[in-house]
């Protein structure tokens, strides 16, 4: 999966799961504010990541994720790490 494909996939499930307008998802936008995430929603984000990419996000990882771009970078890195270990 290319980086562009990963980003399309992420945007797709965020729109579907969190019911946010697709046009609001831009790389520099704030992830938490745009998706209106509360502490419960982060649990669902963990579930979605596991089912879509097969890796478990730990709570501490979210500390350094502010924008969608941060999130894309994080997922791309984890996907590459996973590939490397296979």
């Amino acid at each position: 999966m290319t980086n562009a494909e990963i980003i399309v996939k992420i945007n797709g499930f965020l729109v579907e799961e969190f019911e946010v307008d697709a046009e609001k998802i831009v790389p520099e936008a704030n992830l938490r504010e745009t998706l209106e995430l509360d502490s419960l929603d982060y649990v669902d984000l963990v579930v979605i990541m596991e089912s879509n990419f097969g890796f478990k996000v730990v709570a501490e990882d979210f500390i350094s994720i502010h924008t969608f771009q941060d999130f894309y970078n994080y997922v791309i890195r984890k996907v590459e790490e996973k590939k490397a270990t296979v």
């Binding site: 799961e17 969190f18 019911e19 509360d38 419960l40 929603d41 649990v43 669902d44 963990v46 579930v47 596991e50 478990k56």
Partner: protein, 407 residues
Amino acid sequence: MNNRVVITGLGIWSCIGKNLDEVKDSLIAGKSGIGLDAERKSWGYRSGLTGIVEKPQLKGVLDRRARIGLSEEAEYAYMATLEAMKNAKMEMSWVEKNEVGILYGNDSSAKAVSEAIDLIRLKKDTTLVGSGSIFQSMNCTVTMNLSTIFKLKGINFTISAACASGSHSIGLGYLMIKWGLQKHIICGGAQEVNPYAFGSFDGLSAFSIREDEPAKASRPFDKNRDGLIPSGGAATLILESYDSAMERGAPIIAEVIGYGFSSNGEHISNSSVDGQIRSLSMALNDANLKPAAIDYINAHATSTPGGDSAEAQAIDAVFAGCNTMVSSTKSMTGHECWMAGASEIVYSTLMMQHNFVAPNINFEEGDEFSKKLNIVTKTTEKNIDVFLSNSFGFGGTNSSLVIKKIK
């Protein structure tokens, strides 16, 4: 303080209709909501019979956070409550500024619990059940979700009393308003409909196995009955003090005038004629009515040999010589269990509003006890001023309610 307690809103989601109009038409037509569920047979159920209840589509109706905490039965309860609040002319803007409570009957959320445990066992990770699971899994799933969705600020808890849960919720709501502790309470009962909920009940051979004729399987009081059919959905009633209803300009549908309750103090699953008589008598005493004043009895009768027999004896003992019309709407709906005590008040109130008694379908021949009752087998035109509804549950919990027409 003794406030008058009235019903200002009704709502229903059941196997015989997804709103009051559909349900009224089914009751008049004597239409069964029972069908065969192949999945139950594949799970090893002795009986695949069940009420066939449509699942509500709530995407686009409720936001994600509200939706994902709803168990199956809470979804039904949401739909029933939405209809009841609309009929009671309770706008959200009014609800947010007033103290509206909720007392709702529910006694399981087996599907949500089972699915979460299955997933945890499979994944070895509790996080992966997601954030909604806990709010679906607790017995109070209906009250915790609806109190949040409808911004309720009054009394808020669930009544778990087996198959009398819905009836006791109305009885307790009635008492709280009568005694001046609350002015407006959402009451009702909800019941999940899935193979998770009743495997153990099926295992007791309590269900009818008349699978070749699903619509004829539920036959309360009939000599050849062979068991109940599990069913479900949700029913909601808005109870208010008479003064509050008048002040709001709310439509007053009927008045709750009597609540009786008792515990058998005997066997965990067998019925008790004595326990039922005590419940019936207490309700009549509370309503300050003689048995002859009751125009119609909506029986608990579920189509089990033992249960119907006990109720027939209890009704005969209390209403001897009154020739009171009796029917069990479970002949059409199956046994709606935790919901039944509330749904049967909705069904009977519809009969009261539209001047008919719904039939006890499939009643062909009475047994030793039921032949003494005036069981209505065809839809009958009838002015109902006062009716009584029975609900009895495992553990010997009994509840009887008396409802009066507002004139």
